[in-house]
């Protein structure tokens, strides 16, 4: 008897997902047991890809994102001679969810790429001059690839968190100029250049022969740490961190990104079936503040820096 009852509930959930969900919302709880405003368990691990120049693995519930940074040296353009670039790509391969098919990138992934790129390349968030090696001659281009391994809703928050962690995890290698004028980060060449520089110091020569060091090894840092929270609206109820099943039932979503001093980095509400009153938007900002306090210690721990000053 009890088995058939349980089966009924499962069938009801499949056939009438909206009604099933509403029964939970009326009781101010969600099918996975969370209260409406609670996010899923979140974890951040830096350095998840050993061969990448910087990387991070982020989990929010089942949603899993792996981000890696690959550095390349490029020649900067004439109109932006003292900055490098960050190229953000969010990929949702077919393995991440049953609803993703191979072929063109999903709209969700494209939208996330553009929004993360907009946040991370804003001068108040990330100083692109850090990526300059020699003005007008060489600069770093950081390819920040974020792969979704499991898409269980709230792709954007996880992707942003992974992006921030991976970018802060990057150590720019020392760079030297070869005799033929090429700029390289090749370890052997750098070691030779360092030895040359040492010799020059000892002999007191002003212009050391051979190769020179252009920039020494250094850690990338963000001017402020943006962390986002996505909330969904379902029949007037504000739901934090919706999972994939919930995402399909939402009327609209609101994403608020804040920095450590509580300034808004982004408020994003793309249309949807209902509008959001000012009170709801303020609630979202407030929930986002709470979320910030929850997540920033996780980031600090893995990156080992005092980020929330």
């Amino acid at each position: 008897m009890s088995t058939s009852h349980a089966l009924d509930a499962e069938a009801y959930r499949k056939i009438y997902p909206a009604e099933f969900y509403k029964k939970f919302l009326d009781e101010k709880v969600r099918p996975d047991g969370r209260p409406l405003g609670r996010c899923r368990a979140t974890s951040v691990a830096a350095g998840a890809v050993s061969k990448a120049d910087g990387s991070a693995l982020v989990k929010i519930g089942n949603t899993t994102m792996i981000a890696g940074v690959k550095l390349e040296i490029m020649r900067p353009t004439d109109d932006a001679s003292d900055v490098g670039t960050v190229e953000v790509t969010v990929e949702m391969p077919p393995l991440c969810s049953a609803s993703v098919r191979s072929g063109r990138p999903t709209e969700e992934a494209q939208s996330a790429s553009q929004r993360i790129s907009e946040v991370l390349t804003h001068p108040a968030v990330f100083d692109l001059t850090q990526l300059c090696i020699a003005k007008g001659q060489a600069a770093w281009v950081a390819y920040l690839d974020i792969f979704c391994l499991d898409a269980d809703g709230n792709i954007f928050d996880a992707a942003l968190l992974a992006a921030v962690a991976a970018l802060s995890d990057v150590t720019l290698p020392a760079v030297t100029v070869l005799e033929d004028g090429r700029v390289t980060a090749d370890t052997a060449a750098v070691a030779e250049a360092q030895a040359n520089a040492k010799d020059a110091m000892q002999t007191g020569e002003e212009n050391a022969k051979g190769t020179q060091i252009l920039t020494s090894q250094r850690q990338l840092s963000l001017k402020c740490v943006p962390i986002g929270l996505t909330c969904g609206l379902n029949q007037g109820h504000l739901i934090a961190d919706p999972c994939a099943e919930e995402s399909g039932l939402l009327d609209t979503t609101i994403t608020v990104i804040l920095n450590e001093s509580g300034e808004l980095v982004s408020v994003y509400k793309p249309g949807g079936n209902v509008g959001a009153s000012d009170a709801i938007l303020m609630d979202c900002i407030e929930m986002s503040r709470l979320r910030y306090k929850e997540v920033s210690p996780l980031l600090e721990k893995v990156l080992g820096k005092g980020m929330s000053e």
Binding site: Q110, H122, T252, G262, V267, K269, G271, V274, A276
Partner: protein, 233 residues
């Protein structure tokens, strides 16, 4: 108080202009301009669709955003996404199941606030096509200046100097019988740059007022047009 480069007040819109039914192949079209910013919108549909786009419960909406020069990139795809979601919020999609509605936007001139301009053009083109809507959607951009002050409907140069930008869209429903206009809810909001929550709330209020004025302009423009066509008939 520093005045703006084109002599406007901080909370003053640029001159609005709207022309409809310009394209004879499209079911509806509109050219919307705010000063030097100008967007042309064409609407096709509701028309039949095939394959995965066909939804048995509602019309499928597709938005194509063409920049002034070059090909559409990731940035344009994001604008398409925002505009599509906004359109889905106002079109009564369940009235036309298994069909598709295409909105094609072409930027003719970009002098700032181009997303707001595109949403307004879309709104007028949808009306021109006779697509049933919940209400009239209007959008506006507000820039937060380095000094902390707000400016409405920024130019491209003002946009570049700004600390942050907010683009908001509101649905302006017909006045209710009670006559008391309720505070409109934000349908769409995108922001860039850093600013405080108070500045954000202020920009929402500015946006709300400006959008109701834009909607009033749309109504006047629609009425005049109808009168004109009746006179011809």
């Amino acid at each position: 108080m520093e005045s703006r480069e084109d002599g406007r007040e901080d909370n003053q819109m640029r001159q609005l202009a709207c022309e409809r039914n310009l394209l004879n192949r499209a079911d509806g079209s509109a050219r919307w301009s705010q000063g030097q910013s100008c967007v042309l919108a064409a609407v096709y549909g509701p028309r039949s669709t095939v394959g995965r786009k066909e939804n048995p419960e509602q019309a499928n909406i597709e938005v194509v955003f063409k920049p002034k020069i070059g090909f559409a990139g990731v940035e344009e795809h994001e604008l398409e996404h925002v505009i599509r979601k906004t359109v889905e919020g106002v079109v009564l999609t369940s009235l036309h199941p298994r069909t598709g509605i295409s909105v094609i936007l072409q930027v003719l001139q970009n002098d700032g606030s181009v997303l707001a301009c595109a949403i307004n053009a879309t709104s007028m083109a949808l009306i021109d096509a006779g697509v049933p809507l919940k209400g009239l959607v209007a959008a506006v951009a507000i820039a937060v200046q380095e000094s902390g002050g707000l400016i409405l409907d920024p130019l491209l140069t003002e946009q570049k100097l700004a600390r942050g930008m907010v683009t908001v869209a509101f649905v302006d429903a017909q006045p209710t019988e009670a006559g008391v206009p309720t505070e409109a809810d934000t349908l769409t909001c995108t922001t860039s740059g850093l600013f405080s929550a108070d500045q954000y709330l202020d920009s929402l209020n500015w946006g709300r007022t400006a959008c109701s004025r834009i909607a009033a302009f749309c109504r006047v423009s629609l009425e005049r047009y109808q009168r004109g066509s009746q006179m011809l008939a």
